[in-house]
């Protein structure tokens, strides 16, 4: 229901939203009453969808298979032409523009990268710049720049053929190719569906890093809700016929699902999934009493008692954590050794609270040591910190977010006007009715 209450606000703020920050290189996209009917099908694949995609954000389309999310994505670059409605990019109506020209300005990434096997990595990446008439030197420089961006050594990979790359590397080149001409918009169709889970996590992290740098508008279709939560600034949950069930931030979808469909789609463990939204860096770390190898244990114990802590963290000369000793352990020792504890619960500062909690549970330490760059010890995160973060995010989810972009289906206009606050089934019904009339 939140989509109804939030949409009027969103309409008023959305224009400011796309104009304010300077680093954004993305463009806003508006789907305006877009409908797609395929011949021979009674129900439209996409039914009167109006949806705003803010500039510089990652918007994730999720939903069951066949719900029309991919069709919606492909209508943005008009690989599928909409039957009705308009597509507006950055204020310009592109519905009737030459589709090839339009697509050269929109990056497109498909599963497994979709690299052309008979072209080298460099040629693959250079396709769009070449079509745009760049000269060779500029293309070559751009290829190297992009390979660096996706963490592939240009000297090593430039002249390879796609089959000489692993699946993850192919996917990276796919992303580089899509970014080649620096398009404001990137469309991704299940980009990480064909790689193994570990590579997928790494690619997701890299996409987040790239996005922090580039601030493109990214629209990404996925069937993996966890991926949507991890990557998305906004998540659009679709039902059959591209009916938008909820279009909101991951926090609010997890904390306040609009209806039963969304709840079912999130599945169990919404609370735990919320933990993946917060990074260790974003919560307050606790300080710890530190000691060095070679110190007398009694001195360290004295400092621990003085600070009122239960443990001391032993770090080496480069501030990397070696051991975590309780008061009892300190009491038994004479001199602190420099032998690292292999079971030390350590998490990186970019790790999610979910990872941190997992580390704590596995090591049964009740706390995890947080390390920053070069594994330097930063502080301690404990169960209490995690609990506080959950409480805070739940409180935040309760508030209405003013900036939620518009997203609704045509039929819902009447529903909103006539029966604001009616139950979802009624709204669904009127939506179908409108679809049938058209």
């Amino acid at each position: 229901m939140s989509e109804f209450t939030s949409s009027p606000h969103a309409e008023s703020t959305s224009t400011d939203d796309s104009a304010t920050p300077t680093a954004i290189t993305g463009a806003s996209i508006l789907l305006d009453h877009v409908t797609k009917r395929f011949p021979g099908q009674t129900r439209p694949a996409v039914d009167g969808l109006t949806m705003e995609i803010p500039a510089g954000k990652i918007v994730m389309f999720v939903g069951p298979s066949g719900c029309g999310k991919t069709t919606t994505l492909k209508m943005i670059n008009r690989l599928i032409e909409p039957s009705e409605g308009r597509i507006v990019v950055d204020g310009d109506d592109v519905t009737d523009m030459n589709s090839d020209t339009l697509r050269r300005g929109i990056g497109y990434v498909i599963q497994a990268g979709g690299l052309f096997p008979h072209m080298t990595v460099a040629t693959n990446i250079g396709i769009v710049p070449k079509m745009l008439g760049w000269d060779k030197a500029r293309i070559a420089a751009r290829v190297d720049e992009l390979l660096e961006l996706v963490s592939l050594d240009p000297a090593l990979y430039r002249d390879r053929y796609p089959k000489e790359l692993s699946g993850g590397q192919q996917q990276r080149v796919g992303v580089a190719r899509a970014l080649a001409a620096d398009p404001p918009i990137l469309l991704m169709d299940e980009p990480f569906g064909a790689v193994d889970p570990i590579t997928r996590l790494r690619l997701q992290d890299e996409l987040i890093n790239i996005q922090e740098e580039l601030q493109k508008t990214i629209v990404c279709v996925t069937h993996d809700f966890d991926e949507a939560v991890k990557l998305g600034d906004w998540i659009a949950i679709f039902n059959e016929g591209a009916q938008l069930e909820q279009y909101d931030t991951p926090e609010r979808i997890l904390g306040d699902p609009a209806n039963e469909f969304v709840e079912n789609f999130i599945g169990s463990g919404a609370g735990l999934k919320q933990l993946t939204l917060t990074r260790v860096a974003d919560v307050g770390l606790r300080a710890a009493v530190v000691g060095n190898p070679g110190e007398r244990a009694a001195d360290v114990l004295a400092r621990v008692v003085e600070a009122g802590h239960g443990h001391a963290v032993i770090i080496d000369e480069r501030r990397r954590p070696l051991q975590r000793l309780s008061r009892r352990e300190l009491g038994r020792l004479q001199v602190i050794s420099d032998i690292p504890d292999p079971k030390l619960p350590v998490v990186g500062i970019r790790a999610t609270l979910n990872d941190a909690l997992d580390t704590m549970l596995v090591s049964s330490a009740g706390a995890a040591l947080v390390t920053g760059r070069r594994d330097m010890f930063k502080g301690v995160v404990d169960v209490q910190t995690v609990m506080d973060a959950i409480t805070r995010s739940q409180a935040a989810a309760g508030l209405d977010s003013d900036q939620a972009p518009v997203g609704l289906n045509t039929g819902l206009f009447q529903a909103q006007a006539s029966a604001a606050g009616s139950d979802p089934s009624e709204i669904e019904g009127s939506g179908d009715g409108a679809g049938a009339v058209q």
Binding site: R104, G105, I106, I127, V128, P162, K163, E164
Partner: protein, 278 residues
Amino acid sequence: MNNRTLNTEAGIAGGDSAVETPGDPAAPAVPVSRARLGWQSWRGLVYQLAGILVAFLALVIWLRTADLSPIELTTLAPAALWGYTVEHIQLTLLAAVIVLVIAIPLGIALTRRPLRFLTAPVLAIANVGQAAPAIGVVVLLAFWVGFGFWAATLSLVLYAALPVLRNTMVGLQQVDARLIEAGRGMGMSSAAVLFRVELPLAVPVMLSGVRTALVLLVGTAALATFVNGGGLGILIITGVNLSLTPVLVTGALLVALLALLIDWVGRVVEHVARPKGL
């Protein structure tokens, strides 16, 4: 025949990837494996050429040493043999060129969107047509268009167009649809996708169709003599009619060796033209 060409193709491709897919290769490993792959794939071609040469030499030595009658000697005079062979090659090549000019564009057109509904029926007809006996096609056409070189050429074209047409269509069809979509999604026009993605990726299958056609042509051109089309077939017919076994054997061997030689040329072209990275 279709299966055979495709299987050969798959076999070659499979072999390639087995040799050249190192798990996560260090850079130097790639050139080494490429070099090794180069020799391995050329080896078969070298053996084939050596076999053809040895068989040809054996034929020449036998012709020189055999006890031949005067008629046989006249028929098998080097100049006459050379003339038949040139005629045979002319017939084959002319038909081949016409086939390429007609069948490849037709195959491309039939897989484009407006005509795509025709793809399946045409493939079915092509398969049935391939089963028709060559001699029937040659003679029937001769009755229709008259006897001679052009009748022979026309029937050869009809017969050999089928594998080229079919492999062009199959080659284009087997290009991963997601690659075509990726190309279109990047803003390539449909013509650009055809020439820069689809055709290069279809080249191996198309070329193996062309090679099949050429080999068929060399064999079928031996039948052209029935309609006064010329070629090495004359030796076989003379040999059979006059019970001149050496003439018959020479004619048959020359046709077979020519077919093998053309097949070899085709394989070399396929090898060189195969896009890198496949």
